[in-house]
């Protein structure tokens, strides 16, 4: 009986030790693989950047804004694309807080459309900062009261990321231009009817995430406090549609004098399969055309508006 208990305690201890060792080994390996400016774990590199202008948002920010092109319109101000796939407004808020630890940019171009509950998957990226940054800690605890327990297991932060990290690591064509990772290929038209159905669900009011909205507002307040020019953008889609919470954002931007540049009704892009890789992502060609449009519009906005960049 006593031996059985001792054996059990010894084995449980051994299992925990091995489990943790395996966790840290795999976690470390994935961190190494994803440490570059890939879509994944971009948070690792963003703190090292010192750009004048940043692009924030989810996958549509990541895939649509070519910093090299936008920069050419902004008197060579440096531009960095901080977009991360599947990230929501709470994610952007955490990212901004980490960025502000070392550097304050002059302007942020924010791709709206990240208030959906479906975009909550990436927040675990902030695992390494859970105990290091007060704001990040608060966001994670608010989102999930059990975050402390979950983050005791390092690999929790890598859940469902291995495919993306491995893909980006193996596929050199995915290497980024200042954080921007374009997508290649053209739209498969057969997918459009399915996409329309999916869109309906994503745009439904039930998909609106109030917590993400709270951080969307706090993001804007933080920009105001730090004197950072904030511009909202909504990039083109294959079909005409607005993101969940669009009316709220529109009212908010009007109330707070934040420019909102909406490209979703631009006929140049609508129903133009040549420029899209799927129904809501531009391909490389589309992204370059769009980045030119963004460059022109932002340049105009910054020169005409009160919130001028020192260009």
């Amino acid at each position: 009986m006593k031996n059985s208990k001792m054996k059990l305690i010894y084995k449980i201890g051994l299992a925990i030790a091995l489990f943790y060792a395996a966790n840290w080994i795999v976690y470390g390996a994935l961190q190494q693989m994803g440490a570059g400016e890939t879509n994944y774990l971009k948070i690792n590199s963003i703190q090292r950047t010192q750009a004048d202008v940043y692009i924030f948002g989810a996958s549509r920010a990541l895939r649509h804004y070519n910093p090299a092109i936008i920069s050419s319109y902004l008197s060579s101000s440096s531009v960095y694309n901080a977009g991360v796939a599947s990230s929501n407004a709470a994610y952007q808020y955490c990212m901004l807080n980490l960025l502000l630890e070392n550097h304050t940019p002059e302007a942020i171009l924010y791709e709206i459309g990240d208030l959906g509950k479906n975009l909550d998957g990436a927040i675990a990226d902030f695992f390494p900062y859970y105990d290091k940054n007060k704001e990040v800690h608060e966001v994670l605890r608010k989102r999930d009261p059990l975050a402390g327990i979950k983050f005791a297991i390092p690999l929790y932060a890598m859940n469902q990321k291995i495919f993306g990290i491995t893909h980006a690591y193996l596929n050199s064509s995915d290497s980024s231009i200042e954080g921007f990772i374009p997508r290649r290929g053209t739209l498969d038209l057969a997918q459009i009817p399915i996409a329309r159905q999916t869109d309906k669900k994503l745009q439904a009011d039930e998909n609106f995430d109030p917590l993400a909205w709270n951080y969307f507002v706090r993001f804007a307040n933080l920009c105001r406090d730090k004197n950072i020019t904030l511009i909202y953008l909504y990039s083109p889609r294959y079909t005409m549609a607005k993101p969940v919470g669009f009316d709220l954002i529109k009212n908010f931007s009007e109330d707070h004098s934040i420019e909102l540049l909406d490209f979703s009704e631009d006929r140049k892009y609508l129903d133009n399969a040549e420029l899209f890789v799927d129904w809501h992502h531009l391909n490389e060609k589309g992204a370059d055309i769009f980045s030119n449009d963004v460059g022109i519009a932002v340049q105009k906005s910054l020169h005409e508006g009160k919130r001028c960049l020192a260009l």
């Binding site: 009986m1 059985s4 208990k5 054996k7 059990l8 084995k11 449980i12 299992a15 091995l18 489990f19 395996a22 966790n23 795999v26 059990l146 327990i149 979950k150 297991i153 690999l155 929790y156 890598m158 859940n159 469902q160 990321k161 291995i162 495919f163 993306g164 057969a190 997918q191 009817p193 399915i194 159905q197």
Partner: protein, 467 residues
């Protein structure tokens, strides 16, 4: 508090520690309190129904033993109560719909109202356990349970209350009255089963669910190839969801020293006929229906037509047990048709030593089962019609949804199939125990890391909870 959630594991840790710290006479009380708390965490009202069912079945069984002359009457009462409970929560609206349609077609101005009652979680499972107990007492196979605590635990034991396995009174009563020591083997086997169950549910079932649910949520939009792939994946989704639950349930029970019934023996990978499949799949329900429906129906008769009729009745009961709907009945009808066909042709009995023949038989069995399960999965004839119409278009444009999820699903499924081939009729804990230490620990770590890396950690509900 799902089995795959962190709160459940915190709860389990606390209960296990308390269980072995407490003096033996308090342990069953602790288990009962924990079971009621666990059940209460889903919805408080459910607990009242469970408490009512426990009290009624306790006193009815007691009265059966104390008043043998009224046994039949009491049995009738118990059947009416237990089946009535199921009828009220699960079938009332279905019958109301059917009768109202009948009245309308006969131009009668009668309308039976419908009620929006929420189906209490686990009611089908604990009601069948209660019925099994009552029938055992009625037939004199066991004496009524004198200890109210034991009967309460039998119906409410938290590892099995949500989705079974549907245990038998003769097996479980003994275990509830035996002293369980803190044994290393129980913990080792318990953890192994929990780990394998989590892998089945979180890596395989929940990743398949994301794909299959997306397809079946929008049938008219999808091509033949996509619908065929979804139909072929669904049996694995169902199995790994329910099989994963069962492994976790058995593993959790083992931590307290309890042995719950084996419910699956690799049914989808290793069955060479549908007959073989029903010896391996949802064993606790199949054997329950055989013992309490089929055998009483057959009596002493061995005539083939009656056997076939018995099989039909048995599977209609099983179909209807799953839910109030024509689709479940058709699924039951199809299963009984397969079994009768295999019995009549001898296909269900023949076993081949040839690997190729066996592989072909496995594939044919899987296809037959996948076809039957389309009726199980699709909510209505309308959906089935859409499915068949779109499949008949022979379009090969394949929709794989998210490449990430499709990759995780395919990887998880490949590992599962590999393990299932190796396991054959064994359970994971028995199989792994027969291997060398390096294989065992390598497998544990591999499974744990895979769950964390590609599993769906969102604690999705189990499919059988809605039955």
């Amino acid at each position: 508090m799902q089995f795959t959630s962190i709160p459940f594991f915190l709860f389990l840790f606390a209960v296990v520690v308390l269980y072995y710290v407490l003096p033996k006479r308090y342990r069953n009380w602790l288990l009962l309190a924990a079971s009621y708390y666990f059940y209460f965490s889903f919805k408080a009202e459910y607990l009242i129904i469970l408490l009512g069912s426990t009290a009624f079945n306790y006193f009815t069984a007691k009265a059966m033993d104390n008043h043998p002359q009224r046994k039949k009457l009491l049995l009738g009462l118990a059947l009416v109560f237990n089946i009535g409970l199921l009828f009220l929560f699960k079938y009332f609206n279905f019958f109301s719909d059917q009768l109202n349609a009948l009245f309308r077609s006969a131009s009668l101005d009668i309308s039976i109202p419908k009620y929006s009652l929420i189906l209490p979680i686990g009611i089908s499972f604990y009601t069948f356990m209660a019925l099994g107990y009552i029938l055992d007492v009625y037939w004199g196979d066991i004496k009524h349970q004198r200890n109210y605590l034991t009967l309460s635990l039998y119906l409410a034991f938290f590892p099995q209350i949500l989705c079974g396995p549907i245990g038998r009174a003769k097996n479980l009563f003994k275990q509830f009255t035996t002293e369980h020591l803190m044994a290393y083997d129980n913990f080792a086997n318990g953890f192994r089963l929990i780990l394998w169950g989590l892998f089945m549910k979180m890596v395989v079932a929940d990743n398949i669910a994301l794909y299959v649910d997306a397809i079946y949520g929008n049938i008219p939009m999808h091509s033949s190839l996509t619908l065929i792939v979804a139909a072929l994946l669904y049996p694995f989704q169902l199995y790994t969801d329910f099989g994963g639950y069962t492994n976790i349930a058995r593993g959790v029970a083992k931590l307290f020293g309890y042995d719950l019934m084996v419910n699956f023996r690799t049914p989808y990978v290793n069955s060479t006929s549908v007959t073989d499949y029903w010896r391996r799949n949802h064993i606790s329900l199949t054997s329950w229906v055989r013992e309490y429906v089929f055998f009483p129906f057959m009596g002493s008769s061995t005539s083939k037509p009656k056997v076939y009729l018995g099989i039909l009745v048995m599977f209609l009961v099983m179909g209807f047990w799953h839910g109030a709907g024509w689709m479940f009945l058709i699924w039951g009808l199809i299963q009984s048709g397969y079994l009768i066909f295999e019995d009549a042709t001898g296909l269900g009995r023949k076993k081949s030593a040839n690997v190729i023949v066996n592989t072909l038989k496995r594939a044919a069995t899987y296809l037959a089962l996948a076809f039957g399960l389309m009726f199980f999965r699709l909510p209505s004839f309308k959906h089935m019609k859409e499915h068949i119409a779109n499949t008949a278009k022979f379009s090969l444009n394949f929709y794989y949804g998210s490449a990430t999820i499709f990759t995780y699903m395919s990887f998880g499924l490949s590992i599962l199939v590999l393990f299932e081939i190796l396991l054959n009729k064994k359970q994971f804990d028995e199989w792994i125990d027969s291997h060398r230490v390096i294989t065992r620990w390598g497998t544990y770590l591999g499974l744990a890391v895979t769950i964390l890396l590609i599993g769906n950690l969102e604690s999705m509900a189990f499919i059988y909870e809605k039955f």
